[in-house]
């Protein structure tokens, strides 16, 4: 019974982890997009012109 629940939990957790991982990747892409849009008018220090 508990083993069955733990297998169910493992599947849910892994699916959830992949979903959150993709969400973090989306955040990174959004930040990249926002910073680069801003960067066109005011280049960030350390960034190549």
């Amino acid at each position: 019974m508990v083993v069955g629940r733990s297998v169910e939990f493992a599947f849910i957790a892994y699916g959830f982890l992949f979903a959150i991982s993709l969400m973090v990747a989306v955040i990174i892409k959004i930040v990249y997009w926002v910073v680069h849009r801003g960067g066109k008018t005011k280049p960030d220090e350390g960034e190549e012109a």
Partner: protein, 408 residues
Amino acid sequence: MSFWDFFAGLHTLFTQDWDTSLVRVLLIFLGFLLIYLGYRQTLEPLLMIPMGIGIIAVNAGVLYFEAKDATAAREAGTLFVAPLISDPTELMKYLQIDFLQPIYNFTFSNGLIACLVFMGIGAITDIDYLIAKPWMSMVLAAGAELGTIATLPIAVASGLTPREAASVALVGGADGPVVLFGSIRLAPQIFVPLSVVAYVYLSLCYAGYPYLIKGLVPKAQRGIRMDLKDIPKISPGEKFAFAIIACGVLSLLFPMGAPLFASFFVGVAVKEARINRYIELLSGPVLYGSTFFLGFTLGALLSADIIMNSTVAKLLGLGMLALFLSGVGGLIAGMIWMKFSKKPFNPLVGIAGVSCVPTTAKVAQKCAFESNKLAMITPYAMGPNVAGVITTAILGSIYVGVVPEFFK
């Protein structure tokens, strides 16, 4: 007053149960072994030397305390630390007797030491490659959590409670502070042996993973060269903005892991904001101070009475299984990514998703280099390596927050 009162450590060795004495002697030898392997740089010396000295001293230095009254028997103990005290009066007594008790109560039992290590890791971690290749990094890191996921039901099937199983499964994330943070909240009764097992095994990753790589990945694939020009340059502003936003979003989603996220990303933010005095503080005294006390206190916690627990043998096996499965998961994810990648992709990058920063990235590079002297994969491997810290912290907070409710 007898002759033996001058040599209390020896006296207790001969008057305790023979099995306790035997375990004490074995642990003393284990301490010597860890120190030797640390000294030879086979295992991580920063942890192993203080840990080994702690193990030797706590198992050698057992003495009998005075009996409370004429009828009570004398009690064996040490002057190091008593980890399982919950009664406040007893705790106040031990805070004044055991020299590591303040360190344990004020930094271990609330997870502070894990957070301090995370601050230091954040301050020295380069997240360029994670930001440059976010999809690849996050997917491979999630793949390399296979051991953290699959070990949980296996551990439950082996007889551990769901809380203990979740704690030991976290070893698969290969992130010592998260194991510490999770196990102390989920299963404090196994926290000490589990943390020691985790840190010893993490040091062994460097020795064991090359065999796993050679067993699973054909030589031709191990030597695939990757195009380094494909990695875009990332500005400090991007990294800083990502650290702040990711910290806020992840803390909002996983409040149980918020201390870990805050600690890691404050380190990253300080680094990217180029606040040099804070960078020096976090990457020097905070990181190495906490690593030193982590190793020394864990060693001092590993006394015979803690190790003489039937679950310890299971923890040894399950911890190794978790790290093995995570390595396999990372390599499988790397091979799948290689299959669908339009550009040449070395599947060894996948094992770097096991977040033992930077050990697994170094292992991946070493194995690639052995197959092809021109195969440079470290920049790509650092992406999933850093992403692995984030995925392990996410899983740690899911386990701490959800497991007690799910298995009610």
